[in-house]
């Protein structure tokens, strides 16, 4: 765990960087039953330029980042929201990032509000969200 009660507003969480692989995008955990996640022709027929990753993969990367920084505090009494604003394609390199935006004392603990997002190799935002976690 990296974040403590004294971690200040503006603290940048260590990021999590991943290479998007189509075999994982289409695996049973993610897109196996929805071929827009692994089949080019189905994706194009659906109005997409190519297969896209499930948004939940992005969410999982953000979760990994939060657990690295906040540890066990993530698992009890936390809130997160994620919005997938742009597709992620096979071959993309994505990075989950976050910044502490607010700290609020709550009964001997600190409630952290984190702005978080995932960006691709071009710096384009693909997922945006926030998290509230008590330490």
């Amino acid at each position: 765990m990296i974040v403590t009660k004294s971690t200040p507003v503006g603290f940048e969480l260590p990021g999590v960087k991943k290479q998007m692989v189509i075999q994982l995008m289409g695996s049973s955990a993610w897109g196996r039953t929805n071929p827009i996640h692994w089949d080019y022709e189905t994706s194009v027929a659906s109005g997409l330029p190519a297969p896209i990753a499930t948004g939940q993969m992005s969410t999982a990367y953000l979760g990994e980042m939060l657990v690295q920084s906040f540890g066990e505090a993530v698992f009890k009494g936390s809130k997160m929201q994620c919005k997938y604003i742009s597709p992620i394609f096979a071959g993309d390199t994505v990075t989950a990032k976050g910044v502490v935006r607010e700290t609020t004392p709550v009964g001997g603990h600190i409630r952290f509000k984190v702005e978080m997002w995932v960006e691709n190799q071009d710096g384009k935002l693909v997922t945006v969200g926030s998290a509230e976690i008590t330490v």
Binding site: A29, N34, P35, G47, T59, E64, E72, K76
Partner: protein, 177 residues
Amino acid sequence: MSQAVDARRAAAIPPLTEEQARRRREYIQRLKGDSSWGFESVPDDFEHTWERTITPEAVRLYTDGVEEMNPWYESESPFGKAIVPPFFLSRESAHCFDPLGPGVGRVHVSHETELLEPILVGTTVRLKAKVGRKYFKRDRRYIDVNIDITDAATGKLLAREKRSVIAEYRKMGEASS
């Protein structure tokens, strides 16, 4: 789209043998045949409740799928036994439309997740999903679903999820490519 992006995306999709391509087409046809998914096929009062025992294998599938290697999800955690990753049940919530068959073309666009208690691997959870709203926005068809996740044995509320999906990426009125 730039040539560089085209090349990157093309390189990321390995070529298939003729047999692979044929079997893939057959599989996709089966998925479509098994699916009654669509905006219109989801009743306004649609509800679905299901239970899932969270096995170590299911957690491993999830963590392998995002190359996540945290030992908390496999052996010991600060809560004693192995726990499930924070968004594992957010992913499980995607099964809320399973009675309609495979969601071919469906796109998940957002979620709000509240984690109330850590969940140990091996727990049987009950997920109760209910459509909150169906609506149109920017020429796309949206469905919001609210899901309560409880410990099936005790009834204790473990997590809450609100997820939004669009029926398909293509906008209304756009022709299929």
